[in-house]
């Protein structure tokens, strides 16, 4: 081909001068988006297919089981007493976020008395990210809190299972503490308001 058009020895130099710097600028500009495009392709080719299959499976499972099943648990969690704290601020938020997903999970609060509602909301909303490490279907619109940081771990060549599992478990501990503390603050504030009214 080269021989055919007689350009065997031709060497094209880089553009220089003013025009050269424009050309460099253009290359730099498009380079930003080429890099972004490469990242997008790796996301689409890497996690997206797995995510689609996983989401389908879990969505089907949730439909087959029926989300209304956990309503009974909501009614039980409304009871006072120490043994119901872990149910109200660990088990119920977990199941609500898993089966109803963000944001419908918060509707489970309707089974609880008013004084527990802010604490339950606090507890449930704090779990919509820790759960995404293993169950991304629960909050597919906000995956990058976890995925963003996880991408760094992947770059280093480590596995993500350990991080995802610890995120899930520490999340449970955190929402439990959050629920209890918010419940205490809420009851205090309600009592104060009741006294002043």
């Amino acid at each position: 081909m080269k021989k055919l058009i007689g350009l065997e020895e031709a060497v094209v130099g880089d553009p220089t001068g003013l025009w050269g710097s424009f050309a460099d600028g253009a290359e730099y500009f498009i380079g930003i988006f080429q890099e972004g495009g490469a990242v997008l392709l790796s996301l689409m080719g890497g996690i997206l297919p797995t995510l689609v299959v996983l989401l389908t499976a879990v969505n089907a499972l949730v439909r087959l089981i029926g989300p209304e099943k956990i309503e009974n648990l909501g009614k039980k969690a409304a009871q006072p007493g120490l043994q119901w704290y872990p149910v109200r601020y660990m088990v119920l938020p977990f199941l609500a976020v898993f089966f109803l997903t963000n944001p419908m999970a918060y509707t489970m609060g309707r089974f609880l008395p008013e004084k527990y509602k802010p604490a339950f909301y606090d507890s449930a909303v704090s779990y919509v990210h820790p759960i995404t490490g293993i169950f991304p279907h629960a909050n597919p619109g906000e995956l990058f809190v976890y995925l963003g940081i996880a991408a760094g771990i992947t770059t280093l060549g480590y596995g993500l299972g350990d991080l995802a599992l610890r995120y899930l478990l520490v999340g449970l501990v955190v929402i439990f503490i959050r629920g209890i503390l918010t419940e205490i603050i809420t009851t205090r504030m309600m009592a104060r308001k009741g006294a002043s009214a």
Partner: protein, 181 residues
């Protein structure tokens, strides 16, 4: 003959039901992926491209490095994110948490932040989760207006304590994570 027919109808119905459910689940998934996941991936890809190619990356790295590479720094981040006036502003769509998460991920990948801090960092960037959404979330739980009035400050103040606390818990829970090398 009737018995066989009834059986066939029953089998057909239940198989149809399961297949229908699976198909519906697939449709719902593709819907979510196209409407929520891919747009965010596009947006995040642009940010990563910008960070990796331009000098912004180094600039952010220097800014973040002082905060994100130690427990104390992460605690400061979590306290700032949990300040009751700021937290509702930082909350919407978890956009801020996702961008910061992505930036931290890039820095972890480059080796500027030790990987075992990934777990506490996940909590440090997120004490504001849902703080923008308290009235709506409580309304979904059919709360009275009086409860909302008390619930909003109750949650916001609680975060000021539980935000940093979650970082400490995560820090101690991260022992043995990616540290064997």
């Amino acid at each position: 003959m009737n018995g066989i027919n009834a059986l066939l109808v029953k089998i057909g119905r239940s198989v149809g039901g399961v297949v229908g459910t699976l198909f519906q689940a697939g449709r719902e998934t593709v819907d979510t992926v196209i409407r929520n996941v891919i747009p965010f991936m596009a947006f995040i890809s642009f940010i990563i491209g910008l960070v990796l190619t331009t000098g912004i990356g180094d600039w952010i790295a220097n800014g973040i490095k002082g905060f994100a590479d130690s427990l104390v720094g992460l605690l400061i981040v979590s306290v700032v994110c949990a300040i009751p006036v700021l937290s509702p502003l930082l909350g919407p769509g978890a956009v801020i948490a996702q961008i910061v998460g992505t930036l931290l991920g890039v820095e972890i990948g480059k080796g500027n932040i030790p990987p075992q801090l990934a777990l506490p960092a996940l909590f440090a960037i997120n004490p504001q989760v849902g703080c923008d959404f308290i009235p709506v979330g409580l309304a979904l739980g059919e709360a009275e207006p009086e409860t909302v009035e008390i619930g909003v400050p109750a949650v916001l103040f609680s975060r000021l304590v539980t935000g940093p606390l979650s970082v400490v818990i995560a820090y101690f829970a991260s022992f043995g994570l990616y540290s064997s090398n």
